[in-house]
Structure formats: C-alpha cells, structure tokens
C-alpha cells in the first residue's frame, strides 16, 4: 500500500513536481487591437493628399467644413502643407481605428477630385461607398468637336442630365473635362457608369432617361 501510495504519490509528485519547479506559463496575453498610433512600432501613420491647383481656393473656402469632422469625429490630425500643396493627415493617440485615417484620406481625395463636402462626408459615414473614375477615351476615342459634344451630352443643358443620373442612382458625378468621377455604392456606380457610357457612345438623353426611370423604379421597389 505504501509502495502503491508512494507510487501514486510518486506519480503525483512526479506530475506535481515539475509544476512547482518550472515557472507557470504566463496567462495567455490578451492583446488589444493596436491603436493607430502604435502601429509600425509606435510610429505615426501619415497620409498625404495632393491638392490640384483648381481645388486650391475651394479648399480654402471649405477648410473648416473639412477640418471639423476629420479632427473631431475621426480623430485624425489634418493640416495643409502650403509649400508642397498637400493636405497631410496623421493619426493621433486617441484615434480609435486605423481605418479612420484611410477614410479621411479618401474623403479629402474625393474633395480634391471635385466632389462637394456634404457628398464627400458620406465617405466618412458609410463604409460601402467608393469613388470610381474613368476617362472618355476609355469608352470611345473622340477627338475635337466630337469630344466636346460628348461632354456636352453627358452633362446636358444646365447639367440636368447629370443631375437626373445622380438623383436616379443615388450617386454623385463629377465631370472634369475628359475625366469622369463617380461616388456612390457599388451597384449604383455601375448603373451610373452604364448610363454615362451610353451617353458617350451617342445615345440620346431621352433614351437614357427612360432607362433610368426603369432602374430607379426597380431600385425603389427593392426597399
């Protein structure tokens, strides 16, 4: 019995022995997600957005509208580098999420592309919004007057075609010479792109309107 006990005990002791001998494994560490500030070994994250010359004065005009949401809601430092003509964004210590920086960068980029601040703000608020750009020459090679006419067709008289597309598809469109930028959700961007491409290719506005009507009805039905 004693031997058995001792054996068991030995076993037990054996099993128990190494425990006290070696240090207990530290408890599994719980890492909190890295703050933006601590990423890359504690170095600060930067984003720099260059300012095109034609957006310089609008930037000055709407600076506060841009600055306020970024600094206060997103908790990202923002400044304008006048010499380099860039808007610089930096994470703060209390930046909750690293994606904030990217969102802010996108927001500022959208503004630089030509979108209005209330439209670009949506980028900050919603995740699923994207900005897509393409050129007219991607769709069809047009030169000279044809190009001008295509641009005119795209925007319409007083911009009404563009607005019609925007309202129907819940997107925002910026036509900058030969470049076209669209802001919105993925599906809506697709629809807007289709309409714009058909306009570039030459279909009349009425046709595009009718298609848009159908599409918008379908979109409205879904909700």
């Amino acid at each position: 019995m004693s031997i058995e006990a001792s054996a068991t005990m030995e076993i037990e002791t054996v099993s128990s022995e190494p425990k006290p001998e070696s240090n207990p494994l530290p408890p599994k560490p719980k890492f909190e997600p890295l703050k933006a500030h601590e990423m890359s070994d504690g170095r600060v994250q930067f984003r720099k957005v260059s300012v095109p010359p034609h957006r310089y004065s609008p930037l000055k005009k709407y600076w506060m509208d841009i600055y306020t949401p970024i600094y206060e809601h997103m908790k990202i430092d923002i400044r304008m580098n006048l010499k380099a003509r860039k808007v610089e964004l930096k994470t703060r210590q209390d930046t909750p999420d690293i994606s904030n920086l990217q969102k802010c960068a996108d927001f500022v980029q959208a503004f630089m592309l030509g979108f209005d601040v209330p439209d670009a703000i949506a980028l900050l608020r919603l995740d699923e919004l994207y900005v897509e750009s393409f050129e007219i020459k991607d769709v069809k090679t047009l030169r000279g007057e044809h190009l001008s006419r295509a641009i005119g067709r795209l925007s319409g008289k007083g911009g009404k075609t563009k607005f019609a597309i925007e309202n129907a598809t819940k997107t925002r469109i910026v036509i900058a010479d030969t470049k076209i930028h669209m802001l919105g959700s993925f599906a809506n961007i697709k629809i807007a792109r289709d309409s714009l491409c058909s306009l570039i290719l030459g279909s009349p506005a009425g046709k595009v309107y009718s298609k848009l009507r159908q599409v918008s009805a379908r979109l409205a039905e879904r909700f």
Binding site: P118, D119, A122, G159, K160, T161, N167, K170, A217, F223
Partner: protein
C-alpha cells in the same frame, strides 16, 4: 275484161310519169288524176267497212283534203292486209290453196304479189296515188284468194269431222297450232313441221325457198309431203309427230346446217364470229340465226342472256369508267365530264338567304323596335380588375439635389430600420396636401348641408409675419395716412439701455464701445480649439 279499176289504172299510166311534168300545176292533169282516184276509191269501198265516205269527194276540194279522204279509207285496209300478208308468210300453203281454186292465170299475179311484197317492204314512203292504189288492188285480190282458200279448207274439214267442230272451233287448226308451238320450243326442223301439216304445194315451197334461201331442198321434202298427204290426216300427223320428237337428235338442236342465209345474215354471222369466243355459242348462234322463222321463246331468252353476259364481261375487261374509279382528279377524266354526272357533295356553307320582301320587312321592324327601346347591343369594355396597387412612379428630378449624398443614405438607412420615424417622402407630402384639400372641401360641404353650424377646426400654423403696415396687407389702395405697423414696437426692437446715435457719441463712449468689442472677440478666439496651434508647433519642432 276491163274493170273500172283497170281502166282507171290504165288512164293513170297514160299520163306521163316523168317528174318534170308535175312541176307545173296543170288543170287537165289534175282532173284526170282525180277522176281515176275516184274510181279506185269506189272500187275499194266494198272491202272497207270503217270508211265514213261513200265516194271520194273531188269537186271544190283541195289536194290535201282528197288525200285525207283516201288516207282515212286506206289506213285500216292497209293494216288488215298486212296481217294477211304475214299470215301468208307463215303459211304459204294457204296461198297455194287460193291458187288451187283460182285459175292458173293467177299464178302470174301471185308472182307479182311475191315481188311486190318485197317492194311493199322496201318502199314505204310513197306519196303518189298510183303505187298505193296498185298495192291496194293487189292486196285486195290476195285477200280474196286467201279467203276463198280458207273457206274450202274449212269445208273439207267440216265434212270429215262431225259435231264438235263448227266454223269457229277447228280442232285441226288447234292441233296445227300446238304442233307449231312445240316445234318452236324444241327447235325441230321447220321443214319437217311443215311436212306434218296438211296440204303443201310444191310451187309455194319452191317460191318460198327461192324467195328466202339460196339452197333448194325441194325433192326430199316434196316426196315426204306427198307421202304424208296420202296418209290419213290425224294419224299421219301423229306419226309424223312421234317420229320427229323421238328422232330428235343432237343434230336437230345443234346442227350446222347452212340453210337460209341471206346476205344480211351472213354478215351478221361474220360479226358474231369476230365477237364471240366459244364455238358452241358460235354454232348455236349460227344455227339460230339460220333458222328462218325466228327462234323459240326459250332460245330468244338464252340469246338475250348470252348477249348480256358478253356485254358485262366486256365491261369488266375494259378499264372502268371514271365515276367508278374512286378518287379522280381533273387530269384523269375528260374535260367537262363532271358536268354530265350528277354529283352529290356536302355544302359546308349555308346557302345565301333569299332576300324577299318579307325578310326585309322583318328586318326593318326589328330595327325600329330596337331604336325605340334603345337596345343597341353595344360592346361594353370588360372591367379590368387591378390586382396590384398602382405603383408610385418616381419622376426623374433634373435639378441638383439639395440633400447631400450622406443625407440621402441616412434617410435610406432610417427607412430600412425604423420606417415610422422616417422623414416624409415626396409622395407623402403630396398625400398630405391632398388630404388637406379634401378636408377643406368636406368642411364646406358640411356647412352647406347641415342645419347645425360647425365652426372651422383650428389648425395651428406657424407663419412668418412680416413687418408690413397692416393697411398694406388689408387694402390695396395705398393710403398715406396710417403707418401702423403689424408688429408691436417691442417686437421690432427689444433693446436695453441708453441708445445713442453715432453722431451723439462722445469719445469716451466710442472707446467704451471698442473695448467691449475687443473683449468679445478675445472671448471668441479663446473658445476656438487651441490644440491646433499647439500641434502645429510640435510638428514644426519635430521636423526641425
């Protein structure tokens, strides 16, 4: 001796018979002919019982009328004489009887009769009176001779027999008839049959044979006849009968005798040879056709049957008529052959209605009643049940949207999650406006229709009041008198303290004012985030 008849005939003959003479009507010719015809008529009168005329009326009568008289007399005569001639054809012995009694001079006449019988048969349509009268004359003579012959016969028989027979019933004749019939039925030789009967005359036989046949069988037959003449009448007959019937052989029925073939019959036989197939039929036909006196009833029936059978077999061999061929297209039948056949087919189309006055009258009545009732059977559109609620048509807005994109998405999100608190959409506003209008309308209608007055419901509505003189709002015509403002003075300005104009202010006041301003500005500047400036400084510091 010259009978008036002969005189008349002679006179007629004297008149020239050349046709050209008759072309021009001449008085003397007509008179002579009329006289002659009158005489002939008178001569024939005693033989004709049915004639209504006693004599031929000539004076003042037309040629047509004279002819009609003659016709009336001669028609019944002709038929009776024809009967007599036929009888003589069957029983030439009677002619010989006549001949026996009559003088030999009459032989000539009989020969004439024979020839003229042939003539009679050939020339039927003779318009001249001459031939007619001659025929009448000859036949009349023949009739007289026949009658005489018959009377003698009957006298002979009457002597021999006794009480049973009288002038009507003659057993002899009855027996003869029966024998003839039997002979016809069994197809025995006619010559033998003739031999059975009583008296033959060689001459008649000869004449007959000459008249009808090509061959002569005079000698044997004559011998037989003579023998049988010697025998008793009845007994001889019986024996001859039995001999004939008992001795009936195949040859009697189907003998190949070549007797009595006229040219016509030879031709017919040739035709038969070409057409018919079997030899037996052939032979039969030949035999039968060769028979002079016609066939027995049975034989005739058989002939008919045979011909019918031939016809039918021929029809079967030939290709069928198009009407019997089933489906036939127009190309397979002759042109216009369908017109000749009475076709019967179903008409799928109702035949067009025949428009009569009654039909039109009925239609018009119907129209009138319908118009009066106003029952027009107009087509009414079937009401379409709308299964779905009418979809809201979202109009395309051409204008720049006043809401930012973010706001749009915000609204969407809110609508998804919490539809109640969602801001009103455009359609909702429209609905609201519509309901407002309807309420107003209902109020007015209620006011008009109810006895008890219901005041307007109070709708609290916020509206901006502009500071415009009341009169300007109420009256169009501007009146310079009253400038009473809508707003109360304290609403215009609610200020405190001593308010001085710019000109009134002293230097101290101005300084005071500036100092206040600066204070306020400083306070404002202090409120703005100061961190900005601090960060900038730190950045600048780090850069350096």
């Amino acid at each position: 001796m010259v009978t008036p008849v002969e005189a008349a005939v002679e006179s007629l003959r004297q008149i020239s018979t050349e046709p050209p003479v008759w072309l021009v009507p001449k008085q003397e010719l007509s008179q002579a002919v009329r006289a002659a015809s009158k005489l002939l008529f008178a001569s024939l009168k005693p033989h004709c019982t049915k004639s209504p005329f006693d004599e031929l009326l000539i004076e003042g009568f037309d040629a047509e009328q004279i002819w009609q008289q003659i016709d009336l007399q001669s028609q019944p005569l002709l038929s009776s004489l024809r009967r007599e001639v036929k009888k003589f054809e069957k029983h030439p012995e009677e002619i010989s009887k006549l001949k026996v009694d009559v003088e030999g001079g009459k032989k000539k006449v009989l020969e004439e009769i024979e020839t003229e019988n042939v003539v009679v048969n050939d020339d039927d349509d003779e318009d001249d009176d001459i031939d007619m009268d001659e025929e009448d004359e000859d036949e009349e003579e023949e009739g007289e001779e026949k009658e005489k012959g018959r009377e003698e016969e009957s006298e002979n028989e009457g002597e021999e027999k006794g009480g049973i027979e009288d002038k009507f019933l003659k057993i002899k004749e009855l027996q003869e008839y029966l024998e003839e019939d039997e002979a016809r039925e069994f197809g025995t030789n006619k010559k033998k049959r003739k031999a059975e009967t009583k008296k033959h005359e060689e001459d008649t036989e000869d004449e007959e044979e000459e008249g009808d046949d090509e061959e002569n069988e005079d000698d044997t037959d004559e011998a037989e006849e003579e023998e049988e003449d010697e025998l008793g009448l009845f007994g001889g007959d019986d024996e001859s009968d039995e001999d004939d019937l008992g001795n009936a052989r195949y040859e009697d029925f189907f003998s190949r005798k070549k007797s009595k073939d006229s040219e016509d019959k030879a031709k017919y036989r040739d035709m038969l040879e070409e057409d018919s197939g079997s030899d037996d039929e052939h032979v039969d036909k030949k035999v039968k056709n060769q028979r002079k006196d016609g066939l027995s009833k049975h034989e005739k029936e058989l002939d008919e049957l045979r011909s019918k059978i031939e016809q039918m077999e021929k029809a079967n061999l030939d290709p069928k008529v198009w009407t019997m061929r089933g489906e036939v297209t127009a190309a397979q039948r002759q042109k216009n052959s369908a017109l000749e056949v009475d076709l019967d087919f179903e008409h799928n189309v109702r035949p067009a209605p025949v428009i009569t006055e009654e039909v039109t009258a009925s239609l018009e009545d119907l129209i009138k009643t319908r118009i009066s009732e106003g029952l027009f059977d107009d087509v009414q559109k079937a009401p379409t049940l709308s299964s779905k609620a009418p979809r809201e048509v979202k109009e395309l807005d051409d204008n720049k949207s006043k809401k930012g994109l973010a706001e749009i998405y915000e609204e969407e999100f809110v609508q998804k999650t919490d539809p109640a608190s969602a801001p009103l959409t455009f359609s909702d506003e429209l609905k609201k406006e519509a309901s407002m209008l309807f309420k107003k309308l209902c109020l007015k209608l209620d006011a008009l229709s109810h006895f008890h007055f219901t005041p307007k419901p109070v709708v609290e509505d916020m509206s901006i009041q502009t500071n415009v003189p009341a009169l300007a709002m109420e009256e169009i015509a501007p009146m310079a008198v009253s400038d009473a403002a809508m707003l109360a003075p304290e609403e215009v300005f609610s200020g405190k303290g001593d308010i001085k104009e710019e000109a009134e202010m002293t230097k101290a006041d101005r300084k005071k004012r500036r100092a206040n301003k600066k204070r306020k500005f400083k306070a404002k500047a202090a409120k703005r985030p100061r961190a900005n400036t601090s960060v900038r400084n730190s950045d600048e510091g780090s850069k350096v």
